[in-house]
């Protein structure tokens, strides 16, 4: 972004990578896949690079408002300095925070989730699916809480999946009743409270019960949780967990 600003250029969209997308090995692959798609589609985009900080979602949900405000205000200062108008992110937690929680702090942007963005790229014909690798493959889609219930986005990711011409099978708990993967609310950073079972195990069992070969997710944390669940069930040879961006890239 700094480079573009030096040339006094505005990108079409800012790609907000997020902590998981930047640092988590598995999520990095999603970041790369999404970047490749943006390049293929000829989208003029930028990243903040080192100037991006965590949005503050986990801090706020843990209860640490001070830390959240520090991160948020810092990010808003940077975004406003670059006069950012539109942001796309592959993380529903970043999406929710940027979209819903930054405006009262002075950060007003058009924020879209990458599944929504991919949907419009496909609709505009800037991206095309060819090859039909997924024809007839069973895919089940896991709604993330922060894209789904928190923001009511259920259909955009499904329509992106539909473009793959795969056989989409729903889990019993889907859309508004989708079951959490267990990572939200800063659970990702702590041990579970005592109980009978891990939440991701419960959800993975449900996904596996559909007989799908691919579990599609839209969130780096769901990606971790569902992948761990599949490993625990020793199904990693036959069932893959992918982000939507990776599936679309493979379908190219």
């Amino acid at each position: 972004m700094a480079e573009l600003a030096a040339e006094d250029r505005q990108p079409e969209v800012l790609f907000w990578v997020g902590c998981a997308g930047s640092f988590d090995d598995r999520a990095q692959r999603v970041t790369v896949a999404f970047t490749k798609l943006l390049q293929k589609a000829g989208v003029d985009f930028a990243i903040l690079g080192q100037e991006e900080s965590c949005t503050g979602d986990p801090a706020r949900r843990a209860g640490n408002e001070f830390l959240f405000q520090m991160l948020a205000q810092q990010n808003i200062a940077v975004l406003n300095m670059y006069k950012v108008k539109k942001i796309v992110t592959a993380c529903p937690h970043c999406f929710n925070t940027l979209k819903n929680e930054y405006p009262v702090l002075g950060g007003d942007y058009e924020v879209v989730h990458h599944t929504q963005f991919l949907k419009s790229l496909l609709a505009e014909g800037r991206l095309k699916i060819e090859g039909g690798q997924f024809k007839g493959k069973k895919i089940t889609y896991h709604d993330s809480c922060y894209l789904g219930r928190a923001n009511g986005v259920y259909e955009a990711p499904r329509s992106v999946l539909a473009a793959l011409d795969a056989d989409l099978v729903e889990m019993k708990r889907c859309r508004t009743t989708g079951l959490c993967c267990g990572a939200g609310g800063a659970q990702m950073w702590k041990e579970d409270e005592p109980g009978d079972k891990r939440i991701n195990t419960e959800r993975t069992e449900e996904a596996l019960a559909t007989g799908a070969e691919i579990i599609a997710v839209n969130c780096p944390f769901c990606l971790t949780m569902m992948s761990d669940g599949v490993k625990l069930k020793e199904q990693q040879e036959s069932v893959m967990v992918y982000d939507l961006a990776e599936l679309i890239l493979n379908g190219q």
């Binding site: 990578v17 930047s22 640092f23 988590d24 990095q28 790369v32 970047t35 490749k36 390049q39 990243i47 690079g49 080192q50 991006e52 965590c54 503050g56 801090a59 843990a62 209860g63 640490n64 408002e65 001070f66 830390l67 405000q69 520090m70 991160l71 205000q73 810092q74 929710n96 819903n100 929680e101 702090l105 809480c145 922060y146 219930r149 928190a150 923001n151 009511g152 708990r173 508004t176 009743t177 079951l179 959490c180 267990g182 990572a183 939200g184 609310g185 800063a186 659970q187 950073w189 702590k190 041990e191 579970d192 409270e193 005592p194 109980g195 009978d196 891990r198 939440i199 419960e202 959800r203």
Partner: protein, 453 residues
């Protein structure tokens, strides 16, 4: 003459007692902090119409929804009949509206009778679901004891009420057939025109009058009993569902409320000039989050009093499903119990409940200076609030737009901001956020992944 006098005494007593209890509930709800209403009121009215009146969210689970609808609609229309009972009761008339409304009256009572019959069936279905089928969401630990009994009591009352309605109408029909004085023909009622003769046919006139009066009194007494029982019961939802859906937050579910005080504080830390604007500000109390009902918002308490204890929230809670202690329904029940406790203590006016720092001459006990050495954390354990994934499943599931998550998050805020406590695992998260602005402490650069392009 005796009956109208008796009726007036009973009626006034019932209303006075109920009125007092409702005032107390109002006061207890107002123990919460003031809140600003955001969003337009047309959306709020839509929620009242669709969700409270229209029962929209109930229909996510069809079987209970349909039976609940029978009871609900029967309840609404019985209010029409109640008006007549009140008029008859005070004036000593009999079926006051029958003559003036004519065939419309016959239709109305028939309609209510059919609804009542459906409600009768529904009542047994619900008793069976609770006691025989043992639907899991009625069996969680927080439902032991009074809450379970409460669920049943209301169903027993419902049966009594319906017995009253049908013995009153049934005996009336037979009396009408005999041409008894005062029992003017009203046209055929849908149910009691056959049920009446089937049950009471062949009985003598005075016995029938006895049955008719018994049914009439039973009906109104159950209604008054119900009115006085409501404030102690989960059935308060039949009234509070309406304001509760009106006041429910309209923001996207993922949006957490902002804390302007901290926002300002941080802004002034980051920018000296912002600090200047704020000079000379009055001493504000530094208190963040909530540890008690007086620190929650009043709509949180309205939520608690509206809760029907149906357990839809708990049955979809990922933490609860996987055996954690957290149950969003229990959060709501605990908040209500604590509000009752604080409300009752404040009602005593005893200076013992004034917090020690604030005690002074002539100071009257109020929610501002209340302290009893306890807090919401005596009801809700840390383990419970730590288990929440903020998934919003409970919020989505609630048929009357209650938000248990909002309360959980305020408790978490208190724990972190006021006590610097909370799960120790989170310290690493906080440290790395503070030192490297990233959720994980990694030495890698944020854009290291670009090497992979």
């Amino acid at each position: 003459m005796l009956q109208p006098i008796l009726f007036a005494i009973v009626t006034i007593t019932a209303f006075v007692f109920a009125g007092r209890q409702f005032m107390k509930i109002r006061q207890n709800i107002l123990l919460g902090k003031d809140e600003e209403l955001e969003g337009d009121s047309s959306q709020r009215w839509r929620n009242v119409l669709l969700i409270a009146f229209g029962q929209k969210k109930m229909f996510k689970r069809f079987v209970p929804a349909i039976f609940h609808l029978f009871i609900y609609v029967a309840f609404l229309f019985t209010q029409v009949e109640l008006i007549e009972i009140l008029v008859d009761g005070f004036t000593g008339s009999h079926r006051f509206f029958a003559a003036s409304l004519g065939s419309f009256y016959t239709f109305l009572i028939s309609f209510i009778e059919i609804l009542s019959l459906l409600a009768f069936v529904a009542t047994f279905v619900f008793l069976a679901r609770r006691n025989l089928l043992k639907v899991p969401r009625f069996q969680n630990p927080e439902m032991k004891g009074w809450p379970f009994l409460d669920g049943n009591i209301i169903l027993y009352l419902e049966i009594l009420l319906l017995i009253g309605v049908f013995s009153m109408n049934g005996a009336d029909k037979v009396l009408q057939g005999m041409g008894a004085a005062h029992y003017r023909p009203t046209g055929a009622f849908a149910v009691s025109s056959w049920l009446g003769p089937a049950l009471f046919g062949g009985l003598g006139e005075s016995t029938l009058i006895g049955i008719e009066r018994f049914g009439w009194w039973l009906h109104i007494l159950v209604v008054y009993g119900f009115l006085n029982y409501l404030p102690k019961s989960k059935h308060l939802h039949i009234l509070l569902a309406f304001p509760n859906t009106y006041f429910a937050k309209l923001n996207p579910k993922g949006q957490m409320s902002n804390m302007p005080k901290i926002q300002k504080e941080v802004a002034s830390m980051m920018d000296e000039s912002a600090a200047m604007d704020d000079s000379g500000g009055e001493e504000e109390e530094l208190f963040f989050g909530a540890n008690d009902v007086t620190r929650l918002g009043w709509t949180n308490l309205l939520n608690a009093y509206t809760c029907t204890e149906c357990g839809r929230c708990t049955s979809v809670c990922p933490a609860n499903i996987t055996g954690k202690k957290l149950s969003p329904r229990k959060i709501m029940m605990d908040v209500r119990d604590r509000a009752e406790e604080v409300g009752n203590n404040i009602a005593t006016g005893s200076p013992d409940f004034i917090s020690e720092e604030k005690r002074g001459d002539g100071l009257v006990l109020s929610k501002e200076n209340y302290a009893d050495g306890k807090s919401l954390f005596d009801y809700i354990s840390r383990e419970e609030i730590h288990a929440c994934t903020t998934c919003n499943a409970c919020v989505e599931a609630c048929p009357v737009l209650i938000n248990p998550l909002d309360i959980i998050l305020q408790l978490r805020r208190y724990e972190i901001l006021m006590e610097s406590a909370g799960p120790s695992d989170w310290l690493a998260l906080f440290n790395s956020l503070e030192n490297s602005q990233a959720a994980w402490a990694v030495s890698e650069a944020r854009d290291a992944w670009t090497a992979g392009i």
